[in-house]
């Protein structure tokens, strides 16, 4: 018989006689918890009700494994390790209440940063008429979203939760390309101030740029330099500086574009490229091509501060070289260093002077913090006679001025090793800032722990202060008496770059940079999200995830200086304007023998002015292909768009229809694809040595367009949005006539090709092969003129429908 053999068995049970009284606790009746018996060895009594073990059938919950694991905050883990894994105090303010189950979001993508509130809208998905959206309305289609969960939320219910407005944003690319992305949705300035796109190389710079852009004296100095011409183009320069440009120049162009863009989004592409190729920037490790994905909190702050110093120093040297100017007069702090032995017999004494363009803040020692606090508010603790004042309470009154004062008067002791001496002693090194500039740039170069101190202060950044000059030494006060007024200067806070940490300080790739700027009111700039924000939120630094990094104060007297924006009416007549490049050749490298010149330079009689019509077309080569992720069901996700580079630009006179610009742009970097069948550009065309075309530096080509733009010229072309975007030029709508827009059938939702239009409307058989930008510009010009002709005859609509 096959069966389980049993160790013990009885024959069969006899009828049970009257049993002895069994002891309920007798061992043989007991079952151990882990004994190998089925749990159904004990039966159920008869039941006529629903069992208690039932749960409501409508009870539902998320499958636990569908949730991404939350992980434990790295700071807590570290603390636990230091503590030997024992019980520790829990900081509810920092980590949030315990035992909370977070709302479930389906995990998407590689970043674990919450992006539930970031719902990028596509213009193509807007309901029908592109209706107006007010600031915080519900997002259509997401009915359950309530107002304070929008992307513009700046205050959350819980101090440990970062408000949505600081989220790291992502541009999403629909099948219509980046133009379809609804940047407008994210700009709440009513078209006043522009946002900057991220997901480009070095986009971390955005934050600092927005800060400087709003300092009028800084802005004016930078853009003023654009009036000069600085177009290095000799071969040696080109090999290290392909663009033939400079940090100063590119910053100038960028500032100008940021003004012209009004509320539209701007790319920092050209500026970022020049940074990437700058050997000093490379040496200082300022190039970041992966959205700071591998940086922790301290790394991020160090990066932006290093860049700040690089930027100021580079701009200064560029100003010297290009226009014999400098930023020192607006930004320089002078200092004095005194070295003396602190022992009477030590003969060491030295005094030297120097200057810096930005000041690093240091944390004062704690006794000074206490002392300062009492001085700031001497009446704080007098009432509490019973209790001695708490150190914490005292400290809460400390603000940035204490740090500033200490940082400007530092004393360091180092061991003296200068000479043979009987007794070891120290050298006292005293560094004192002796003058303050109108634009005071402060680098908050503190460690993570030092920032924790700042979290405890009630109000660390203050909106204004007075710097009182006391005999080569400065003291800072929030208020002054009339007595001090004579030798004091009032400073107003312009704004600051702030680091936002979305996870523990040690986590990589979880930290972003935003900017707060005080204009007519305070604004937050988070890449392409720009919105007003109340001052009390700006200045609230009590949360550990918010760390100011670069702070700028300006002297009140110059803070209201008007911005010297370029405008069409006055540009052409500006006294220092050098627009000679429009009227001459300026080739990169050597003069090319026997090149075919397909254009004729402008003459002075032809000086472009407002409303002068020109036709333009550009060709591009592919520097970097787009980075895609593809899915088996056909879905494609664009991770990084392709990077095109201007290779050739042709501009035609509107009246005479002849070319006056036909520039090929020199390239020394590796080109991924010349796109010859589209661009007509051959391999050697852009090579500084081998090219047989009229090769110029990128800045040369750009400057010509920039001049035309500022002179008020009207550009005619086909599909100009993409062209100007790649060139990095912000052209106001009224200066564009785009034949692709005119000849647009909305029910096809598709733009019609140039060649097709030419064939149909102009009855021209265009050459079927390579593009030629002169020809294309010409064709666009013809189409435009045809358009004017048809509209004047009232026949445009009918022709289009045919």
């Amino acid at each position: 018989i096959s069966g389980v053999t049993s160790k013990d068995f009885v024959n069969f049970p006899s009828a049970i006689e009257e049993p002895d009284i069994p002891d309920p606790t007798l061992e043989e009746n007991k079952i151990g918890i882990d004994d190998n018996v089925p749990l159904s060895c004990i039966g159920m009594p008869y039941y006529k009700d629903l069992l208690l073990s039932n749960y409501a059938s409508d009870l539902k919950f998320v499958k636990e494994f569908a949730r991404a694991p939350e992980g434990i905050n790295a700071d807590l883990l570290l603390e636990s390790e230091r503590n030997g894994g024992r019980f520790m105090l829990y900081d509810k303010a920092k980590y949030g209440p315990g035992n909370i189950v977070k709302k479930f979001d389906i995990v998407e993508g590689k970043t674990a940063i919450k992006n539930k509130s970031q719902i990028p809208k596509f213009i193509s998905e807007r309901n029908g008429n592109g209706a107006e959206k007010n600031g915080t309305e519900e997002i259509p289609g997401i009915a359950s979203e309530i107002i304070d969960e929008s992307i513009f939320q700046y205050k959350s219910s819980n101090s440990s939760v970062i408000p949505n407005c600081y989220s790291r944003l992502q541009i999403q690319y629909s099948r219509f390309g980046v133009r379809d992305f609804d940047f407008e949705f994210y700009n709440k300035t009513n078209g006043l101030y522009c946002g900057l796109e991220n997901h480009t190389d070095n986009s971390y710079i955005n934050s600092l740029l927005q800060l400087y852009r709003f300092s009028p004296v800084f802005y004016n100095k930078i853009v003023k330099n654009l009036l000069n011409e600085w177009l290095p183009c000799d071969l040696d320069t080109i090999l290290v500086n392909t663009e033939g440009s400079s940090i100063l120049t590119e910053l100038g162009y960028l500032f100008d574009m940021m003004d012209k863009a009004k509320g539209n989004n701007v790319k920092i592409y050209n500026f970022a490229q020049v940074v990437t190729h700058n050997k000093d920037a490379i040496a200082h490790h300022l190039i970041n091509l992966d959205e700071m994905n591998h940086l922790n909190s301290l790394d991020v702050r160090n990066l932006i501060i290093s860049f700040n110093k690089f930027l100021l120093s580079q701009i200064n040297s560029d100003l010297h070289v290009q226009s014999q100017d400098s930023i020192e007069e607006i930004m320089k702090l002078t200092y004095m260093v005194e070295v003396r032995g602190n022992e009477s017999t030590c003969p060491v004494y030295d005094k030297s002077y120097g200057s810096i363009l930005s000041l690093d803040l240091v944390t004062p020692p704690s006794n000074m913090l206490n002392k300062m606090s009492i001085l700031i508010n001497p009446h704080l603790n007098t009432t509490a006679a019973q209790q001695p004042p708490q150190l914490a309470n005292i400290r809460r009154n400390v603000n940035i001025l204490t740090y500033l004062e200490y940082s400007m008067n530092q004393v360091k002791l180092v061991p003296c090793q200068q000479h043979q001496h009987a007794y070891p002693h120290s050298l006292e090194i005293k560094t004192t800032i002796t003058s303050l500039p109108p634009v005071l740039v402060l680098n908050v170069n503190l460690s993570n722990e030092e920032f924790q101190l700042i979290n405890g202060f009630r109000k660390w950044i203050i909106p204004e202060f007075y710097a009182v000059n006391q005999k080569d030494k400065f003291s800072f006060k929030s208020m002054i008496s009339p007595f001090d007024k004579a030798n004091s200067a009032k400073y107003d806070l312009l704004g600051f770059v702030c680091e936002i940490s979305h996870s523990s300080d040690f986590a990589l790739g979880m930290h972003g940079l935003v900017t707060f700027v005080k204009l007519d009111q305070w604004y937050l700039f988070n890449d392409f999200l720009v919105m007003p924000i109340p001052e009390e939120e700006v200045l609230d630094l009590s949360s550990p995830w918010k760390k100011p990094v670069v702070v700028i104060y300006q002297e009140s007297s110059i803070a209201q200086t008007p911005f010297e924006y370029f405008n069409i009416e006055t540009f052409g007549k500006l006294p220092n304007l050098n627009d000679s490049i429009l009227y001459r050749d300026h080739f990169a490298g050597t003069i090319r023998e026997g090149y075919k010149k397909e254009y004729e330079l402008l003459t002075k009689q032809e000086a472009p002015k407002a409303d002068t019509l020109v036709a333009i077309d550009a060709e591009f080569v592919l520097l970097n292909p787009e980075l895609l992720e593809v899915h088996y069901d056909g879905f494609k996700k664009l991770i990084k768009p392709k990077i095109l580079s201007l290779a050739r630009v042709s501009v035609l006179r509107g009246e005479e229809e002849t070319a006056f610009i036909d520039d090929y742009v020199v390239h020394t970097a590796k080109i991924h694809d010349y796109l010859t069948s589209f661009s007509g550009i051959e391999d050697s065309d852009l090579d500084p040595i081998r090219s047989a075309k009229n090769l110029v530096t990128l800045q040369t080509a750009y400057r010509k367009l920039w001049l035309l733009l500022n002179l008020g010229v009207v550009f005619v072309g086909h599909g100009l949005y993409n062209d100007f975007r790649c060139i990095n030029l912000q052209v106001p709508k009224k200066q564009i006539r785009d034949t692709a827009e005119f000849y647009y059938k909305s029910d096809f939702k598709r733009q019609l090709g140039l060649k097709f239009l030419a064939y149909v409307l102009l009855k021209e058989k265009v050459q079927s092969n390579n593009h030629d930008s002169i020809e294309d510009a010409y064709t666009a010009l013809m189409l435009y003129k045809k358009y004017l002709e048809l509209t004047s005859q009232g026949m445009f609509e009918s022709t289009l429908n045919f």
Binding site: F12, E28, I33, S57, V62
Partner: protein, 442 residues
């Protein structure tokens, strides 16, 4: 370690002996639907793929209920029985209701469920009345006993007995609780569906049975008909009472008859798919509207089999269907294994929770604190709006991780948010284990 805890573990069920089974058991049938009622699908809230509800986490109700009823059937006893208390080592006779019994032979058969005192397992005892010992032919019985076929009910024992008064033949088979015959399953109950897939399954199972028998030189004789083939599990049939015919010394039969009978069984079942008025005439033709031609052809071949028929050749033709069945069986196996895994885990987790509850009800000690915090972590959570969270999936997974003692760390925060500790599941489990040991040795 035991793979399967044998039913008669060394630890007896202490309460079985202490209760008596009143007629109450018979007069108050259990209302199974109260156990874990589930609303019908059309009234059930739809779930997103990432969501679950209490029913989905555990063994499906219908499977559980079926098995419950089988257990109940197995445990059924008769009180105040007039039957002999035992026959040889078989005791606790309970008649199995088989209303379909056709008494074709001269002998009437009665079926009982019995238990063996040798191994404590249930068996079916077939009693064929009015058989004298000398009439019994045991010559083929050992062969019958050795048939190990999933589609033939196995036999174990055969003897004559006087326990009922007059001499009768007793044969002992495996007991399949709550099984019924094909006739009952498809005809009388009326609801079990018949389609191509099921018929192919039956065909293959019957062929398998007959193959096994013929290999041993045995034949199915009268057992291949709708009243003798039993349905023991879902879509699973077996030949019952196979050895009886030989024991009773019935004439040998042409093995071909087995083949014909298979065909007839299938034909009869196929015919049930037709409305009553159409069940005559050229059946094969009419059936084309209900089942596949391939199946009809196979049935025909079986019914009309002659001397040229070769079982192996016939089997070969079914190869495509055969592999379908192999596929299905493997899938079914995987399904059962998954259910079993889940329920075995539930047992472990129940024991773990029992230990935790023992430990937590102890007087306070420092180790207790961490266990209480873990308990809060699992059972005392809130959502972001302050509402208490009831999440069975979270409980299951966390206790599972605790039971396995994985290295993953978990942050435990006290209720007042003042203190916290980071510990791995392994550490917490070790603490529970050691605390429990302390308690059990107290």
């Amino acid at each position: 370690p035991q793979a399967v805890p044998p039913p008669q573990s060394s630890t007896p069920n202490p309460y079985l002996n202490d209760y008596f089974h009143t007629p109450a058991a018979a007069t108050y049938p259990l209302q199974y639907h109260l156990y874990a009622p589930q609303p019908p699908p059309r009234l059930t809230l739809p779930l997103a793929p990432h969501e679950s509800n209490p029913h989905l986490l555990f063994i499906p109700n219908d499977l559980r209920e079926t098995l419950h009823r089988k257990n109940e059937a197995t445990l059924q006893t008769m009180v105040h029985s007039t039957l002999p208390p035992s026959i040889n080592q078989y005791h606790s006779l309970v008649p199995i209701d088989r209303t379909y019994q056709e008494s074709k032979s001269a002998h009437s058969t009665v079926l009982y469920k019995v238990f063996s005192s040798l191994d404590g397992n249930p068996y079916v005892m077939r009693k064929i009345e009015n058989v004298e010992p000398e009439q019994i032919d045991f010559s083929k019985f050992k062969k019958w006993k050795s048939v190990d076929c999933a589609n033939v009910v196995r036999c174990y024992d055969a003897f004559s007995s006087l326990s009922f008064g007059k001499s009768c033949l007793i044969a002992v088979f495996d007991y399949y609780p709550n099984s019924n015959t094909l006739a009952e399953h498809h005809k009388k109950l009326g609801s079990a569906p018949i389609n191509d897939e099921i018929l192919w399954g039956y065909l293959l199972q019957l062929v398998n049975a007959v193959k096994c028998l013929h290999e041993k030189g045995l034949s199915g004789k009268g057992t291949i008909n709708l009243n003798k083939i039993i349905v023991t599990n879902k879509d699973r049939i077996r030949l019952s009472s196979g050895s009886i015919s030989d024991l009773l010394g019935d004439e040998d039969q042409d093995p071909l008859d087995d083949i014909h009978n298979i065909g007839k069984v299938l034909l009869e079942l196929s015919t049930l798919t037709l409305p009553i008025n159409m069940r005559s005439g050229n059946i094969y033709q009419t059936l084309k509207s209900r089942i596949s031609e391939e199946l009809i052809e196979s049935i025909r071949e079986l019914v009309d089999a002659d001397q040229t028929f070769e079982l192996t050749a016939f089997q070969s033709k079914l190869s495509s269907q055969t592999f379908n069945v192999i596929n299905k069986l493997q899938h079914a196996n995987d399904f059962m294994e998954a259910q079993l895994t889940s329920e075995l885990e539930n047992a472990r987790l129940f024991r773990l929770m029992t230990k935790i509850n023992y430990v937590m009800s102890s007087t306070n000690s420092p180790e207790l604190k961490i266990i209480k915090l873990f308990h809060d972590h699992v059972f005392n959570c809130y959502d972001e709006r302050g509402k208490r969270v009831v999440d069975l999936s979270k409980v299951l997974v966390n206790l599972n991780k605790l039971d396995c003692g994985i290295d993953e760390k978990v942050l435990l925060v006290s209720n007042d948010d003042n203190e916290c500790i980071i510990a791995s599941f392994k550490e917490i489990r070790d603490i529970i284990d050691s605390q429990f040991r302390v308690i059990s040795r107290e």
